[in-house]
């Protein structure tokens, strides 16, 4: 895989106002990344993008991207596989 979220920090923003690992995740089926969509990850002046990306949940996701790509959802393999 060549994950653009890791290599280029090419992240996405959903129509409903959430930071996403990638714009391709902005579809009706976000169950694969529901741990990244918690209200505590709403971006604001008091909760910057850096704060969100430094959270345990986001770090765990990027760790999977790096070290366990087989566990990633189909959308990752489709667009960065």
């Amino acid at each position: 895989m060549k994950p653009r979220c890791l290599e280029d920090k090419f992240l996405g923003w959903s129509a409903t106002g959430e930071l996403l690992p990638c714009c391709w995740y902005d579809n009706p089926n976000k169950e694969y990344i529901k741990e990244l969509l918690d209200d505590k990850f709403k971006v604001s002046y008091d909760n910057t993008v850096e704060d969100v990306l430094n959270s345990k949940e986001w770090k765990d996701f990027f760790d999977r991207v790096k070290n366990d790509p087989d566990s990633l959802p189909p959308v990752c393999h489709r667009y960065c596989g």
Binding site: A15, T16, G17, P28
Partner: protein
């Protein structure tokens, strides 16, 4: 707009395995706030306004967003296909873009008068004129052209027109042949990998160089 292959239609019509999420509409979403845009543009060096489920021009503060990103010296892309705004709205946006690192990408599939066949409710001639205006102001301008059966014979003509106007021309070989409405528009098989329908990603070709999208 109601383009049959757009992500928006996943909510209302059900496409590509998303049927269980069909709600009959409306498409969920909200306007990005000025605070969110400020925080996002502080962090990211590059910003793409692509409106996955909509179009950037529908945001009431788009000009302010664009100005904010320009002021922060960001690399910006703006993708548009809708024609909901007046000519003056586009001109104002182009004036903000001019002389800065901003690329405008126009989704016009075929000759301007035919583009609405796929891009339902688009005024293709109007958008084409906006694209020409953008390029004539010296702004980096790109024409995205998805290949369908109604436009496959005009690719070279449109590519020449784009080159003449200093517009980059990107032809897109789609993989989104998921529904009857889309299949009716499917081009000649030379533009379709029939073994990979609905499985692979779409393919964009710029100056004969291919890139998966």
């Amino acid at each position: 707009m109601k383009c049959a292959g757009c992500a928006r239609q996943r909510y209302t019509d059900g496409l590509n395995g998303f049927e269980k999420h069909v709600t009959g509409g409306p498409v969920p979403g909200k306007h990005l706030s000025m605070e969110e845009m400020d925080v996002i543009s502080d962090y990211f060096q590059g910003i793409t306004f692509c409106g996955t489920h909509s179009d950037p021009q529908f945001h009431p503060q788009f000009h302010e967003f664009l100005q904010m990103c320009v002021d922060k010296k960001r690399t910006i892309q703006v993708h548009v296909a809708a024609t909901a705004r007046k000519s003056s709205w586009f001109t104002k946006a182009f004036q903000i873009s001019k002389g800065n690192d901003v690329e405008w990408v126009f989704g016009i599939d075929g000759k301007p008068e035919d583009s609405h066949i796929y891009r339902k409710n688009q005024d293709g001639k109007f958008l084409y004129n906006m694209m020409i205006r953008c390029a004539s102001m010296g702004i980096k301008t790109t024409w995205h052209y998805i290949i369908f059966n109604y436009n496959e014979h005009y690719i070279e003509e449109c590519a020449r027109d784009a080159e003449k106007r200093n517009i980059s021309f990107v032809r897109i070989e789609s993989c989104r042949w998921w529904t009857e409405d889309l299949l009716k528009l499917r081009p000649n098989t030379s533009y379709v990998d029939v073994n990979q329908l609905g499985k692979k990603r779409s393919n964009s070709i710029v100056n004969n160089q291919s890139r998966l999208i």
